[in-house]
Every structure is written in structure tokens, then in C-alpha cells.
């Protein structure tokens, strides 16, 4: 197994996450797409860490996981607060700054 297999898989995963972020309008699915992109980045880090025989990539993956956990906690709190305020999860209905 070369490194290109894993890198191609990570690119496809990142592209799927980015497309989901641009296309969908459910706010929970947007957060899930962000998680997909973070996981693609994690896969690239681990692949290069294995390829270059270093450990820094895996250390960075731990830090990214911690940051992702904090991001999900705050993001879901914001989602609950937004749902209380707007009674919907559709981000095209949230135009508080536009009007």
C-alpha cells in the first residue's frame, strides 16, 4: 500500500465534506460535514507520519481531535440555542443580520 492510496481517500473524503457544507441547509448536517473534513485532514497527517517515520503527525492528530471535541460541544450548544430562537434548523431561514 503506497501513500497515494491513503491520500486519494483523504482527498475524496474532504471533497465530500466540502460539498456537503456548501449544498445542504440543515445546520446539523453542516456540522457533520465539518467533522468529515477534519477527519480527512487527520488521515493525511497520519499517512505522512507513517510515510516519513515520524511521530509528530500522530501528536497533531491528538490535538486536532481535542479541538474538534471542543468545537462540537460549542457548536451543538449554539444549535440548541438557535433552535430555541428560530424553531427551525434551516439556515436559509436565519436572516437576522440581513433584515
Amino acid at each position: 500500500m503506497g501513500i497515494y492510496h491513503f491520500l486519494g481517500l483523504a482527498f475524496i473524503l474532504f471533497a465530500i465534506g466540502a460539498v456537503g457544507f456548501f449544498v445542504r441547509n440543515n445546520i446539523i448536517v453542516l456540522l457533520l460535514s465539518v467533522e468529515l473534513m477534519l477527519n480527512a485532514v487527520n488521515l493525511v497527517f497520519v499517512s505522512f507520519s507513517r510515510y516519513l517515520h515520524g511521530l509528530e503527525g500522530q501528536i497533531f492528530v491528538f490535538l486536532i481531535m481535542a479541538v474538534a471535541a471542543a468545537e462540537v460541544a460549542v457548536g451543538l450548544a449554539i444549535v440548541v440555542s438557535i433552535f430555541r430562537m428560530f424553531k427551525t434548523l434551516d439556515i436559509s431561514k436565519m436572516n437576522l443580520l440581513k433584515r
Binding site: L9, R24, N39, R50, V61, A70
Partner: protein, 167 residues
């Protein structure tokens, strides 16, 4: 040989379930598809020989993040919300433009990577990096980053409590 078969099976599961994350209509099916993606990604990490990352992938993502998403999806009562279409067809042109842009950026990235790494072909050898090496590396050279991340987690927890509480 068997490694290649396992890799292709895992990657097909991962891509299909990642497509399911962004194409499912209801949010709870998306979360279940994300669970499947995380599990197959942990399998890919095991295949690469980075067992500790796979372990923490399962503990952190499957055990904490996906469960948190499930809690929130079940907490919000989405039954009485209009079941919107999976893809926003109103902005179909903008959406397809976004898809084309992402595909183009990924192709350019792939081409740049092929150009900048001419000595391709080195296999990823499954040499084990144990807990001891990881812990020494994390607690010696990256101690400051570890402490900063712990402070960030504390701030995130406090911020989530502050934002999510009822007035």
C-alpha cells in the same frame, strides 16, 4: 494482497457512508452514516499500523462526538418541522458551482502532490509506534501544546454551558 482487499473494502464503505452523511434526508440517518465513516476510518488507521490513533478515533469520535450529535438530534423535537429536501434545489446553480470548484481544487491538489513527490512508491510499513514513544513525545516536546489544548477544552465546556443554558 489481503491488505489491499481490506483497504478497498474499507474505503468503499467510507466513501459510501460519507456520501450518505450529506445526502440523507433526516439528520439522524446522517449521524448514523457518520458513525460508519468513523469506524471504517479507524479500520484504515489500523491498516496503516497507527493503532493508538485508531483507538483514540473510536474513543473520541464514536464514543463522544457522535453520541453528542445523537443526543442533540434526539433532544430537538424535529418531528413537527417541515421535512426539507436533501439538496437545496433552489440554489441549484450555486450548488453545482460549489461542487465543480471543490472537484477542481482537489484535482489541482492531487496534481501538485504528484509533482512535488517524485520519489513515490515507498510503502507504508506497519512498524508499531507504541504508547511509550507517543507519551514521551507528547509529554516532552509538545507539553505546551498539550496544556493549551486542555485549557481550550475547559473553555469549550464552560462556553457550551453558558450558551446552552436557558435564560
Amino acid at each position: 494482497m489481503i491488505e489491499q482487499a481490506v483497504f478497498w473494502i474499507l474505503s468503499i464503505i467510507m466513501v459510501v457512508s460519507a456520501l450518505g452523511v450529506i445526502m440523507m434526508k433526516s439528520a439522524i440517518n446522517s449521524v448514523i452514516c457518520l458513525l460508519l465513516t468513523m469506524l471504517s476510518l479507524a479500520g484504515v488507521y489500523v491498516l496503516q499500523g497507527s493503532y493508538i490513533v485508531a483507538l483514540f478515533q473510536i474513543i473520541v469520535y464514536v464514543g463522544a462526538i457522535v453520541v453528542l450529535f445523537l443526543f442533540v438530534v434526539m433532544l430537538l423535537n424535529i418531528k413537527n418541522i417541515r421535512r426539507e429536501v436533501a439538496v437545496d434545489y433552489r440554489n441549484f446553480i450555486i450548488s453545482s458551482l460549489a461542487v465543480l470548484t471543490v472537484a477542481g481544487v482537489v484535482c489541482i491538489l492531487w496534481y501538485a502532490l504528484r509533482l512535488s513527490m517524485p520519489e513515490a512508491g515507498g510503502d507504508i510499513v506497519p512498524a508499531a509506534a507504541g504508547v511509550k514513544e507517543m507519551a514521551l513525545e507528547l509529554l516532552n516536546r509538545h507539553l505546551l501544546a498539550l496544556e493549551l489544548v486542555s485549557v481550550l477544552l475547559l473553555a469549550g465546556a464552560v462556553g457550551a454551558l453558558l450558551i446552552g443554558r436557558k435564560e
